[in-house]
């Protein structure tokens, strides 16, 4: 027994490590509690750029192919969908549409399972990334209809996180973005500003405000 190595130094090291860990934990706690956020200051502004529309829901993003969607809606309009305000399938990623004189075309996103998830933005060569890369910042800007619905107030279910990630990605490519919150009662709609003053889709500046302590 006498020949055993003394454990005093080892105990000392271990006790010191525990103490440091406790100090780190306390500092971490204080640090987190004092975290203050300054909102970004994105101001809507007039532009000559044309919008590329997106819908963000359930952590997924859909790039609206307006040519395809409008031609499908026009076909439905010829069958009386506009007068009856009938909701019809747009044959585009599970989207449904409704034509209204004041609101133009409203989009109802019921099934989003076919939409690409926003995490695909992190993958090289993903189709979502390709679509975003095709936006020409000199001619176009991205406009997002972002679903604000969420269960139990959690982010999951809404399109907030998907929108934030896409905006960050586009900001890195100098593409301006604009957005508005939508939900099933007030769905995304594209209309002409000559019909209603609400039919305006503007990009925003992204200011220098960010997370600060």
């Amino acid at each position: 027994m006498r020949n055993l190595i003394s454990l005093d130094s080892l105990t000392d090291i271990v006790s010191n490590s525990v103490g440091i860990l406790i100090i780190f934990a306390v500092i971490n706690l204080i640090h987190d509690n004092n975290k203050t956020y300054q909102l970004e200051i994105p101001l809507e502004h007039e532009t000559d750029l044309s919008p590329v529309f997106f819908i963000a829901k359930n952590d997924r993003l859909l790039v609206l192919d307006t040519d395809k969607v409008f031609s499908n809606a026009a076909l439905q309009a010829t069958t009386g969908a506009a007068g009856k305000k009938r909701i019809f399938a747009l044959d585009f990623f599970g989207l449904f549409g409704q034509i209204d004189e004041e609101k133009g075309i409203s989009f109802y996103a019921r099934d989003t399972s076919e939409w690409p998830e926003f995490i695909e933005l992190e993958k090289r060569n993903s189709s979502l990334r390709d679509k975003l890369n095709k936006i020409d910042p000199k001619k176009q800007f991205a406009y997002f209809f972002v679903y604000d619905n969420s269960e139990d107030g959690a982010t999951a279910g809404s399109g907030f996180e998907a929108f934030r990630k896409a905006r960050e990605y586009l900001k890195g490519h100098s593409v301006k973005t604009g957005w508005q919150p939508v939900n099933s009662e007030a769905p995304a709609n594209i209309c002409d500003s000559s019909y209603s003053s609400r039919c305006v889709y503007l990009p925003s500046y992204l200011g220098g405000g960010n997370t600060n302590k």
Binding site: V18, T36, I41, D148
Partner: protein, 207 residues
């Protein structure tokens, strides 16, 4: 000599008996260290970030009138920090207008500060008259500042919480038929439900 050897041997036996094993002690320490490390790692990965929003927000001469849109309604936070300076730079008639606006805004802030419980529960349904008055005040201040050649402009900054879109749409509807709102710049930002408002913090404190 034999006597001293006997004493030494006895002492040696006593020391041997008194030796305490450090293994249980070490074992407890290692366990505590492991648990603490585990909690630390877990909290850094899974715990939602607690974020507080500043009550007063400005970027250069542009000052935000913040409206937080929640499922139960809105909380509006008028900016106050530069109004006294603006008041000093304008003529007498405009001084009175600014004084009225300051009084109204102070009442709003006092009401929020008096609110007991979480501040986010202070949300109320957007009232048409209130929204119109907010627009009118912002427009008046911007015009007064412009007339006095004073660098100051207020804009509306909407913070949208999950399920807060309805309140936002209602305000934008009111704004669409309010003449005063036409000249006011607007910005909007999505917020998460765990982001809370801290009335005590201004943007200068946050930097």
């Amino acid at each position: 000599m034999a006597m001293s050897r006997a004493i030494k041997a006895q002492r040696y036996r006593q020391e041997e008996k008194l030796e305490v094993s450090l293994f249980p002690f070490l074992s407890i320490f290692l366990c505590v260290m492991g648990v603490l490390s585990f909690i630390n790692v877990l909290s850094s990965f899974s715990a939602p970030q607690k974020i507080e929003l500043t009550a007063q927000l400005a970027q250069g001469y542009k000052v935000a009138y913040q409206i937080f849109n929640l499922p139960d309604g809105i909380i509006h936070l008028p900016p106050m920090s530069h109004l006294r300076e603006l008041q000093d730079a304008v003529d007498e008639a405009d001084k009175e207008t600014i004084e009225d606006i300051i009084r109204r805004r102070q009442w709003v802030i006092n009401k929020l500060e008096r609110h007991s419980g979480p501040i986010m529960n202070a949300a109320s349904e957007p009232d048409i008259f209130d929204i119109q008055e907010i627009m009118h005040d912002i427009r008046s201040l911007n015009e007064i500042a412009l007339k006095a050649n004073y660098l100051y402009e207020e804009f509306l900054l909407f913070g949208i919480y999950p399920n807060g879109g309805q309140a936002y749409q209602k305000i934008r509807d009111i704004m669409s038929f309010t003449q005063d709102a036409r000249s006011i710049s607007v910005g909007l930002e999505p917020l998460d439900s765990n982001w809370t408002l801290n009335l005590k913090k201004s943007d200068t404190q946050a930097q």
